[in-house]
Symmetry: D2
Subunit: 343 residues, 4 copies
């Protein structure tokens, strides 16, 4: 949990020790037993916890858009910004032709017409995105108990692909600014250090501190700001962002993620959960392993939350309409998204 | 304007002859003189007609979301569906690994963890998208009078790239179901034939027929359904969709696009405007040439409007909250988008 | 076997009727029994019929390069040329920056330095290429009897990927200009019609007609010219090239492909074998199904053979040094290649 | 010129101080005056120094292939290996379907047919490649004095694209193993340290030491081994390879590159020339700036030379047939290549 390149941990809020005791396997087994939602919405379900949102919830969410102030929560997609994951790189955006070609007069259109056109190559997890239900498996089981080989093949997710949730990510959004509440010291105000595990108690404390507009309940989409995106941007260190230690949700927070019946949770980090994992011997994204295939919970990663957070801090209102439907890539196990918050 | 493969034109509504008289050059010159908005929002402007939307407009739009019924207006992105443009193909979605790999036990993660991951290669105009302000030029001038070579280089749009409008596409949406109103005969109810040029008079007639909820005014985002997407889907003929004759706005409708002070207009076709163009000798996308660089108007293409149209026809209400911010590809001259309508 | 768009078949050489009798399954079973080379080069083999080439063969092949006349046998890679396969499109080549950017003075290098850079997205089978041994399976068995799931996973071919044969495609090349020998009539001299199945007898007749330099033996790489690439280029019809009827090897020619102990065979078509297949009920690439996983034979597709063929016709010499190692994409089941013939 | 992470420079061979005196501008101006080949092969030339190779040269080169021992000089293309350039990443190879899909029985082919297919996205300079003549400019002039904007546009190189040299890279190859001759000490035998500038005198000394088979003359393709590729592979440090200090040709070696009338030069490094540059104030790839647009010389980068070098050391013969035509991407300013050496 040390993070040498960023200096010592802040003296104030320490990473919680309230972790599940025992081996990784026991913790995973207990979490499966307690939080598994298989069958809850029928055998054919492709929405998971998005089922918690209904038309009434959406209509109520729209009523939160009072001022019309609007925020895009997406990072820009380019080859020099944050990227998702250690191995497959940034989006690469290239022009098929450009204004320089038009200016050179080589495009061949009549009457003064000119144009520019472009393409992008991108890992679906390389910018702001939702992890799909077909993205992670627990002992070869995908969401709802399906065998992973029956869900996601070389042709993509045949059952729960991104195209199935295209209209579903509309709900009340709630921002929990954990970075602002608990971040302090040498890293910079408002930023949690790498390895900081956010516990259920801390989430409850932040909600209490933020006031009634921050209450969390069924069908909400919860946005958790850790400050890590700003921190890595300030350092210009996207390698750390993609592969280094990161603040994030403790494995123990699964209880809260499950019990609140939220529709989705997103953070400004690459993995939602704390890295490195809290377990010894090492494991790999244990919160993902429970949240996605067992709870059916959508995880949002690389959300750009600073401007929204500043607005919420200014007016004390932490709830808003959130419209965050990702690109419907057929069979996508990730969905790039430009989430829009309207207050 | 003939479309032999689709049979004879319907006997009812004929393509309008009320086109600008004279040569292409004269028509373009007149349109520039009448509709050019350069300087209207300052020299540094990167929003064009999106400036017509303000926070009050957005707040009012949110109040249109009463029932919570939600519609995604995006086509699915895959290699077998509609594509934008004749030459550069469909999105190609491939898996880096899949549930089959997880099932085979070759991924190397401990404790039963498994995952799937994916990438996409796509022209930014290959699915539902907004044309950016840097996409089309008129005699080497981009939006606001800038020289095209100063706007879009090999590194993308330096001034009005997609990242600049990421939060701006939130407003009242209005559906004008021209296909349903004027389409008839052999093609199938609700579908206009290729080459059908929608005039200003026809737009006004559709609005009148649809009633008060269909009135159009400043800052609205107007969605025009022609039925062509359904038509080509039924035929399984995406080559026609990308390159054949298409219904769309008449060049003469620029007066209405400009005068109503709408923020954006989108259709279920690939080019918004009628194809082939109404002019002789041939020209290339003349409505684009005026709308984008001169008016500063955002054009949306390949919008999936049938389900929304059915809902509007059912309840007689043609207005809704529209949230349609595209992916913020830095310097993008096109922005893939999953537009969400909430009624 | 009809090809209506190209007019009637030429009256001279007719498609052979000397096909295996009986059902598809019987023909496949017989071919497996007769031609299967599993185990011939050991359990770990990754070279298949390339094992027929040894250093002596290569040294002898080099001695065929007497005049130094050199031919590239690759089609150009671009979005407007021939493409491989019906669904995944052409190579897309885009610039990261160009001479226009350098001319605009926006690149930021000192002392007058400027540059251009580029990327390509391409199906590995979209231009001139070798099909890898992991590309096709026969009843879930890949080359050498391996289970297909043990060979090619989501991470590519783990056993026989393109990187394993990078140095192996050097040998004596022999051109068999079947198009010139048998093509006649309305299509144009030198071009066989779609559906024309080249039999073993016809191959032997062409060899005899071309003379001693066209003899075929162990370790040779045989190039068979049908004329279809020129035909489709003249028509500007690459859809036909990728998906229409095509001349090619008869299923019955497998006997010759196996018995001659050649190292590889390539054609100027997309599929080497005749299309549609000669069998009823329909099957899918039956020659591939025997040649790749059973014989271990490398098939080369989309070879550009016209200039080489003209030279061979002129000097009567049909043999040459062929150097045709594909790009070593790790785990590639296809290998793009620029084959070089030196006479 | 220090390279801290790799330890102190070896005590033996020091980086040469025999650099052009004076400022960068003076050195560039002098080199232009002395080495510029514009017009030498006519106004329409697209081959540059490849013109030094003629059919006689190629035929003589083929006679060097005596034993048939063959070497592929290409690095494997994948997301975990060496990459070209600091910003645009490695090749990304993904499967469209695989043996796992075939094994799962979901592909839908009859009679037991199954297959796998794949795509690649790659910067053209991300593996072993030739820099094209349109890749670098000197004060907005490309090879042969053409204005860079007339050569390489958004549509690629219109004059000297990779498709123009597809058949030209066949000649006598000569390996100069500078790493083996001069590398010593702490880095490991056979490897030159980062920042080591190889001078003309050192090249002559290596040739003399290697003996008559290493003489260099008109039309040869010279391969210079520095050992850096092995060094970075051993360290697992491809970041250093792409962006760190590297051994390479001294700017002063341009005299030799020009005077010997070689057809091309390639190294096992990413940039052929020494990095950082020998000049103060900093400049950018000064040897490229003279070699490509002024001499018309082809530079090959990321060549895999160790196995060939070992063979040459073993038999004392440093010459061979080299066949190294790159993929003919239309308009490519880089050409990925699998160079084949036959001894």
């Amino acid at each position: 949990m040390s993070e040498p390149a960023a200096g010592p941990l802040p003296s104030g809020p320490l990473p919680s020790g309230a972790l599940p005791s025992g081996a990784v396997e026991e913790a995973l087994a207990e979490a499966r037993r307690k939080y598994r939602n298989w069958g809850r919405w029928g055998a054919a379900d492709a929405l998971g916890t998005l089922n918690y949102i209904d038309d009434g919830k959406r209509a109520a969410a729209a009523r939160l858009a009072r001022s019309g102030r609007t925020f895009s929560l997406a990072v820009e997609l380019n080859s020099g910004g944050p990227r998702g994951g250690p191995s497959h790189g940034n989006p690469v955006h290239t022009m098929l032709d450009s204004g320089l070609d038009a200016a050179a007069g080589t495009q061949g259109f009549p009457h003064g017409f000119g144009d520019a056109d472009d393409v992008v190559f991108m890992p679906l997890r390389s910018g702001t995105h939702w992890d799909g239900l077909g993205h992670v498996y627990d002992n070869k089981r995908a969401w709802n108990g399906r065998h992973c080989a029956d869900v996601t093949t070389g042709a993509g997710d045949q059952v729960t692909g991104a195209e199935r949730q295209a209209a579903a990510f509309v709900s009340r959004g709630v921002l929990l600014d954990v970075g602002r509440a608990l971040g302090a010291g040498e890293l910079g105000a408002g930023e949690l250090p790498g390895g900081f595990a956010i516990t259920e108690d801390q989430l409850r404390a932040v909600i209490a501190a933020q006031g009634p507009s921050a209450r969390v309940g069924r069908g909400d989409i919860v946005l958790i700001r850790t400050g890590q995106l700003s921190f890595c941007r300030r350092l210009g260190d996207w390698e750390r962002y993609a592969a280094g230690p990161a603040p994030g949700l403790s494995f123990g927070a699964l209880s809260w993620l499950h019990g609140t019946e939220i529709a989705a949770v997103a953070t400004d980090t690459f993995a939602v959960e704390v890295r490195p994992p809290e377990f010894d011997p090492p494991c790999h994204l244990p919160l993902h392993q429970i949240a996605i295939p067992n709870i059916g919970l959508f995880l949002g990663e690389m959300f750009e939350l600073d401007a929204l957070a500043a607005d919420c801090a200014a007016d004390g209102r932490y709830e808003f309409l959130l419209v965050a439907g990702g690109l419907p890539v057929t069979g996508g196990v990730g969905a790039p998204v430009n989430p829009i918050a309207v207050k």
